[in-house]
Structures are given as structure tokens and as C-alpha cells.
Amino acid sequence: MRYWTIIWRNVARNPRRALLTAVSIGFSLFLIVMEQIAADRRLRLEAFSERGYYEAQTAAGSGLRVLASILTVFMGIGACFAAMNTMYAAVAGRAREIGTLRALGFSRAGILASFMAEAVLLALIGGWFPARDAARKTIVDALRSS
């Protein structure tokens, strides 16, 4: 479908915006994956040994970790807003184009889907690599420390 041609060429024409969107989405995914895996690891640690559990409890790092988690969540939300903002600008900048497509007989749903596809495409490009690396790193760290 021609939608894909429009999407690809729009990404190619404005790589800075595409990169910004991809990076913000990627960054938020990275943080979410880190947070998920870290949370998962803490759960698993609990099952390890009593000694390990108390060690973790008394460690000075405990409060810090909570703080880090909160920070992660807030930064994740911030990155989501950044991504939303750039996509919003992309849609607003093409309002005329959308009007034209409507006048030619394209449906609302089709046009919406094409913008969704663009955002998902950027999210996949921006999200896949950092999320994969984050997952890999935290899993390796977890294996090492256990």
C-alpha cells in the first residue's frame, strides 16, 4: 500500500525527527525493561537464602535502589511525553496532507492507521536495540552476582 511509501519517505525526509522519536521511545523502553528485570531479580534473590535476604535489607544500597526505581519511572514517563510530542508535531505538520487524503476519499481509519504504523515502526527501530541490550546486560549481571 502507498501508505508505506509515504511513511518511509517521510522518515527519510526528516531523519532528525524520526531519530528523536525513536530515541525517546527507545529510552523509555530501555528503562522499563531494566526496571522489570531488576524487579524480577529482586524477587528471585528473596528465595535465595536468609542470609542473603538480610544482607540486602541492611545494605545501604536499599534506599538508593528505591530512589533509582522511582527515578526510572519518572524518566520513563518523561521520555514517553517527548516521543508523544514529536509524533504530535509530525501529525500537526501534515494536517493539510491529511485533509487532501480525506478529500481524495481516504478513510479516517486508514489515515489514523498510517500514522500509528509510523509511530510503531519508529518505536521498533528505537526500542529493539536498547531494550535488547538492557535485557542482556541485566541478565548477565544477575547471573554473575548469583
Binding site: 502507498r2 478529500a103 481524495l104 476519499g105 481516504f106 478513510s107 479516517r108
Partner: protein
């Protein structure tokens, strides 16, 4: 039995609500447009010409009144039906061309055909015919920014006629063009009307452009003036 009019508008009103102000864009207009007509709608800014055109195109809905095109009441259609109907029956030409900047001339003309279920070869044939008709068969792979304003508008006209619609609507088609390109575009529209029997309704400010049309109707402050009458002053 006489053939029904292509467009029949009866007691059409369109009122916009701007905050607490009611703006009457069109008041009780009635108009019939016959098949094969080339009608120019003229009038000062804010007289409701573009609103009338948008309602005929199904881009805007009347506050009251009926719009029948080829015997079909478009005011009663759902948004989805209207979108489909527009693709098959209306070719729209805009003042500022509105080609998709990232698509080539060929792809722009092909765009409305993608919704028709034609095969790739059929689409190619249609696009080539339309581009030949507007005299730009050697510019098919050019992007809009590589074309002049007049050429862009001709591509837009090719896009409008590609689906072979019964009615071509043009909103100030020469508004953004120099005198020479405007003349080319108007000659092209006149030819589409005379040689191919395309019905055209055009909104314009430009008396030279209106001169090409077979008939002129004037609007003033939302009122459609009777045939042959011009607004005072």
C-alpha cells in the same frame, strides 16, 4: 422524461457556531447544475462560495436543506459512505495544489486509484492517460518540488480526473498561479469540459478565470443571487 440534474440543491443553509456567535455562511440557497455544465461561482470573500463547494463535495454538511447529486442525497449518507462516494464521483482541485510532497507525480495521480480495486496495470494505464491529457507525460517521475506551480496544478487536475468522476470541483484553481500558468490551467479545464463532457464547478475571484466558464453565478453574504445578477458595488 427529462434526465435529472447532476446537482440539485434545495433550501440549503449552513450556519457555523463560533463561540456564542452564529455565522450564516449560506442562507436558503437553491441551485441546479446540469450535466456537462461549467459553472463559476464568484463573490467577495466570506460570501459562502467555498462553503457551497465543500458541501457539494461532501466535505462539509448542510445545517438544513438537501443536496442531491445524480439523484443521491449526500446529506443523508454516513461519513464512511460519503468518503467512498467522494472517491468515485468527485475530483477535487485545490488552490494550493496539495500534492503529497514525498510522492512523485505518477504516484500522486495514482493515489485515489488505489482505493478503486483496479489492478496495477489498469492503474498505470489510467495514470498515463490522465498525465498525457494534461501534457505532462514526460514528468511522471518528478517530485512536486521539481515542478513549477502550473505543472503542479496540472498534476493535481490529472489526479482529479484519474478516477473518471462525474463532477470536478475546483476551489480557486488559479489563485496561486501567475497569469500565464493560470491561462494554461483554465484552457485545460475548458477542454475537459468541452471535449470530455466533464461537469465542472469552480470557485474563483479571478474574472479572467471565470470568463472560461459557460455560466457564472454570484454569491453575496451567504445568498445565491439569481442568474445574471451581480452583487451591487
Amino acid at each position: 422524461m427529462t434526465e435529472p440534474a447532476l446537482v440539485r440543491i434545495t433550501n440549503l443553509s449552513r450556519i457555523f457556531q463560533r463561540d456564542n456567535e452564529k455565522v450564516v455562511a449560506l442562507a436558503d440557497c437553491s441551485l441546479e447544475i446540469q450535466r456537462g455544465a461549467f459553472l463559476a461561482l464568484m463573490g467577495p470573500s466570506g460570501s459562502g462560495k467555498t462553503t457551497l463547494l465543500n458541501i457539494i463535495a461532501g466535505l462539509d454538511r448542510p445545517t438544513s436543506g438537501d443536496v442531491e447529486i445524480e439523484g443521491v442525497n449526500i446529506a443523508a449518507m454516513s461519513d464512511r459512505e460519503l468518503t467512498r462516494w467522494r472517491n468515485q464521483n468527485i475530483g477535487f482541485v485545490f488552490q494550493s495544489f496539495n500534492l503529497i510532497p514525498v510522492l512523485t507525480a505518477f504516484e500522486n495521480v495514482e493515489l485515489p486509484l488505489l482505493l478503486t480495486g483496479l489492478s496495477k496495470q489498469e492503474r498505470r494505464a489510467q495514470v498515463e492517460t490522465a498525465m498525457r491529457l494534461v501534457g505532462l507525460e514526460d514528468r511522471m517521475s518528478h517530485l512536486p518540488r521539481q515542478l513549477s506551480g502550473g505543472q503542479e496544478q496540472r498534476v493535481a487536475i490529472a489526479r482529479a480526473i484519474g478516477t473518471d468522476p462525474s463532477l470536478i470541483l475546483a476551489d480557486e484553481p488559479t489563485g496561486d498561479l501567475d497569469a500565464r500558468s493560470a491561462e494554461d490551467v483554465m484552457n485545460l479545464l475548458a477542454r475537459l469540459n468541452a471535449d470530455f463532457g466533464k461537469s465542472i464547478v469552480m470557485v474563483t475571484h479571478d474574472p479572467r478565470a471565470a470568463h472560461h466558464a459557460a455560466g457564472i453565478r454570484y454569491l453575496d453574504k451567504g445568498l445565491l443571487l439569481p442568474e445574471g445578477e451581480e452583487p451591487a458595488g
